[in-house]
Amino acid sequence: MKLLPAEGSKIPTWRMAITYAVMAGIGIAFAVRLFNLQILQGTTYLEAARENRITNVRLPAARGVIYDRNGSLLVRNLPSYNVLVTPAYLPDSEAEIETIYARLSELTGVPLVTSVTVPGARCRDERGIRQLVEERDSIAPYEAWPVACDVGETVARIIREQQVDMPGVSIEAEPVRDYTTGALTSAILGYMGPIPESLKDTYEALGFVVDRDLIGYAGIEAAYQTLLAGSNGFKQVEEDVAGNPLREVGEVTQPTPGYSLCLTIDTRLQAAADSALRNQMEWVNWSSGEADRTPLGVVIAMNPQTGEILALSTLPTYDTTRFSPFIPLDYYEELINDERGKPLVDHAVSSTFPPGSTFKLVTSVGALNERVIDPNQTILDPGKITIQNAYFPNDPGQSKDFVCWNREGHGRVDFLHGLAFSCNVYFYKIGGGFPGEPIREGGLGVNDLYRYAHALGYGAPLGLDLPAEEGGLIPSTDWKRITLGESWSTGDTYNTATGQGYVLATPLQVLTSAATIANNGKVMWPHLVDQVLDGEGNVVKEIEPCVLWDLLDGVITPVEEIGSCRDLPESITDQLEERESTPDLDVHPEVLELVRQGMRMVVTEGTAEDYAQLDNISSAGKTGTGEFCDEVASEQGLCVPGAWPSHAWYVAFAPYENPEIAVIAFVYNGTEGAVTSGPIVKQVLEAYFNLKAIDAARQS
């Protein structure tokens, strides 16, 4: 190009050249940038444009409901009404907006502004209406956001009628859980809560909507979360910038409603068990003159032949009706702060306690089956035996006394009387051996105690379909060496043989040990769900009883086969897998028969005679007084050797001839097992047989 200036024009050529160069530079820069944006990064931006306009909508699935074994509804879904505000749709005029805020505040009771400045989760925000809307306006102005939740049907209806005058305000009906039986079944059903931050990715991958969908936090709600929840539907909607849906893109996946559950629980028996426990705990507190003498208690009733849990109650508990649609912070803190009672913990399976004399069932089965003693031979109970320290045999100061609860001693006792009167010295001697008695050298011993405890259900979770089941603790020589760095002593064996010392068990395990003896050696899988129903109420799965292992069948069940008959989806429970070796043993039938006789004698003439005997029904049981020394007792100076505070246990089954119910009652710091827990079990058994009679009468 000729750059010479035309005649008369005095724009210097080189200055023109610079102009052209600048222009070319800008042109090239733009072309390169365009090429980069449109061609090289084109797909990225195309995807970004798609993300802009395509909204993934998760269609909420209806959560399954829960019935008890008689078909009465324990949990249902009710609509809860939320008031939403879409900031972008509010009127332009500040005055009109303020009028709307004021009207909403008046109707819902949510203040305009509060002193809270910290944002909360959806529906858990404690800030005022204006604060909320102003924040949402800067985050997602076209998204409707709740400013008041669970406002009640009347308020919702009023706002709906006045919606025309309040642009930007809308009402949303959200299904929430309604626990019809409230606190009575909270230990079984559990509760729901928002998806925690830590599990956000997991649940989002499953199609859940964080901030909208709730998940089970405890109980059946948590254990059967996958079955109950169903799966959200899915559709893609093209929206413009204002969030107006324009059209649906692609196929719509309809939501799959969750399965409903029919539990093995009988709500009527549950109520009887709950009030028996409650009354007895109140009586213990009242009679001792200490308002918080016993902080907690547990009752469980089970069908020993099937493993069905008929009632399960722990106290103190929480009121699930107050947990829905969301958990109030002050109530939650109140529950959390009860450090002794721990209402949110399901003590039936998640807490462990020294089982005390109820553990003598293990020692009995072991000693008889291993022929440590002849059950007819008598053994002397002088009320107190002394073990010399192995290293200082001649120093009386180093020796240790083991006493019977009856300091007078029971004199000479045979097996049946030893069990019936819960004679400690008898069990010390057969458990750990004693020179001069007709007992196998060393007694049953720690290793066999360990094996027989596991055989009767101790030492590992039983796979009940509730979350967080504990396995308890059965000590062994290795365990003591590893954990405490000390050698096992005869005294340890004595303690273990009577359910003291290091032994810890859940109430469910103690119940299972008695139920196994009642059920002639078959350890049944304890379970809470009887049937799985689809969204229309058709039974899609009957949960069949499952024998975890059988002590009398002469076959040792390998550990990997234990629980294989449980016909449940894998996600429900995997706690049985904690076992390392099989608990199954080969037991002679007459051993269990003899133990049952002993348990019968407990009721007829033994420790429970005055407290747990039923009028028309023959029952058999075992008392337990588990000595403990926790922080509270220790602070009060109650941990005096030989006179420790104790938990009250009583476990029983009935009828003796053909057991169909096994019940355990546990009262923390309840002192005497027979006195405190015996009557609870008795009332539950009476309620059971009364209800049975009522049902039979109704059917005929």
């Binding site: 750059l3 010479l4 200036p5 035309a6 005649e7 008369g8 024009s9 005095k10 724009i11 210097p12 200055r15 023109m16 102009t19 052209y20 222009m23 800008i26 042109g27 820069a29 733009f30 072309a31 940038r33 365009l34 090429f35 944006l37 449109q38 061609i39 990064q41 084109g42 990225t44 931006y45 195309l46 970004a48 444009a49 798609r50 802009n52 306009r53 800067s138 985050i139 997602a140 102005p141 093209e238 929206e239 413009d240 910038v241 204002a242 324009l246």
Partner: protein, 384 residues
């Protein structure tokens, strides 16, 4: 002022054709970009009316001998100052930042017209003092000449137009042959002022900026735009960089050939704001792709090149400077607008010449083209 029929044979038909093509494309693109927004529906017929008015303006301006403008340069300057003072007064009277005169059904934006008129004023002054252009005195006087309206525009406040006026002054004094070291001196003075201002700026950003207050004459939103460009917040979705991001997505999703006219989702679903004005280039790039965007840039480039060609052909310095001034006006506004669309420079309210919606801007630019045509028509000293 006689119009000889013979001079019309020099009329630059290519220039007119290119301008007409862009103007027509603009109307079509505005039609697409309003995306069914009813409050913008009248933009299309309006732009058509302005295009017709503009065509008349080109012919009339071409017919008028450009040297006539030289004769009335001083009255023009007075008119510019009065208009800008009036609009500023209107702004002070409580309408906030006023940029328009509402005259009947049309709004006239004096600052758009002032850009073209200041080209005439400065070209006239510099051409008259061509022989003493090397003197610092002339340099400073021309600066003052430009600075007075620039400050008035700045106070409206209309930062971008003020910058355009500044650029026109720089371009015209540069083209006239002013010594480069004068520019360096000016630059040094500017740097010193910036350094002196920096404590004030630091104070401002630490306090009043957060509180949403203005920085003296510069309004907060203008400071905010600069900040959002210099320090983009990657978290902000609906924040300050929202529109720039949306424009980038729009352009990027265009690919080679675009989504098709009326089918760009960023435009049609209104994810992009001010689609028919500031961000019409993005809308066009989304719907017509890389090819469409390059064609648009090529046509704009062609128009500017034709203006620069006219500058070289002009028979006198005044004509040359007018053509050069118009070329720079178009080049600078295009570069700023496209650069902003491509997220290369901060967001400013400068329209894309001939394409963005806006009557005053279109008519002013077409007036400039008419004057360039006038220069071309009369580039021969003696017309036989």
């Amino acid at each position: 002022m006689q119009v000889s029929a013979r001079v019309w044979r020099h009329f630059d038909v290519w220039l007119l054709a290119a301008v007409a093509a862009l103007t027509i494309a603009s109307v079509a693109m505005i039609q697409s970009a309003i995306a069914g927004n009813e409050s913008l529906a009248e933009a299309v017929p309006r732009q058509m009316i302005y295009a017709v008015i503009g065509l008349v303006v080109i012919v009339v301006a071409a017919a008028i001998d450009y040297r006539f403008w030289s004769a009335i340069a001083r009255p023009i300057y007075v008119v510019v100052l009065v208009l800008l003072a009036l609009i500023m007064a209107a702004g002070f009277v409580g309408f906030g930042a006023a940029r328009w005169f509402n005259v009947g059904i049309v709004n006239i934006q004096p600052s758009e017209l002032s850009k073209v008129l200041m080209i005439i004023v400065l070209a006239d002054y510099l051409a008259r003092h061509q022989h003493e252009i090397g003197q610092f005195r002339i340099f400073i006087r021309s600066l003052i000449l430009a600075a007075v309206p620039a400050v008035l525009v700045f106070l409206q406040p209309d930062l971008s137009t003020a910058i355009v006026l500044g650029v026109i002054w720089v371009a015209l004094t540069f083209a006239s042959g002013a010594k480069l070291r004068y520019f360096l001196v000016l630059l040094a003075i500017g740097a010193v002022i910036l350094v002196l201002l920096s404590p004030l700026l630091i104070d401002y950003f630490n306090g009043p900026y957060q509180a949403g207050e203005d920085f003296y004459f510069v309004q907060r939103y203008q400071m905010q735009r600069i900040v959002s460009f210099l320090l983009p917040d990657p978290e902000a979705h609906h924040g300050e960089s929202y529109n720039v991001n949306q424009a980038k997505i729009a352009i990027g999703s265009g690919g080679w050939f675009g989504q098709g006219y009326g089918h760009g989702t960023q435009t049609q679903l209104r994810f992009m704001k001010v689609r028919h004005t500031d961000f019409i280039f993005s809308a066009l790039s989304e719907e017509f792709g890389f090819v469409g965007a390059i064609i648009l840039l090529a046509v704009l480039g062609f128009i500017i090149l034709r203006c620069l060609r006219a500058a070289r052909m002009a028979r006198d310095q005044f004509g040359a400077l007018i053509c050069y001034g118009v070329a720079i006006l178009l080049l600078f506004q295009s570069a700023i607008n496209v650069g902003m669309n491509l997220a290369l420079i901060p967001v400013s309210g400068l329209p894309l010449p001939f394409v963005s919606y806006g009557g005053s801007s279109l008519v002013a630019n077409l007036l400039g083209i008419g004057m360039v045509e006038s220069v071309i028509l009369r580039h021969k000293r003696i017309e036989l």
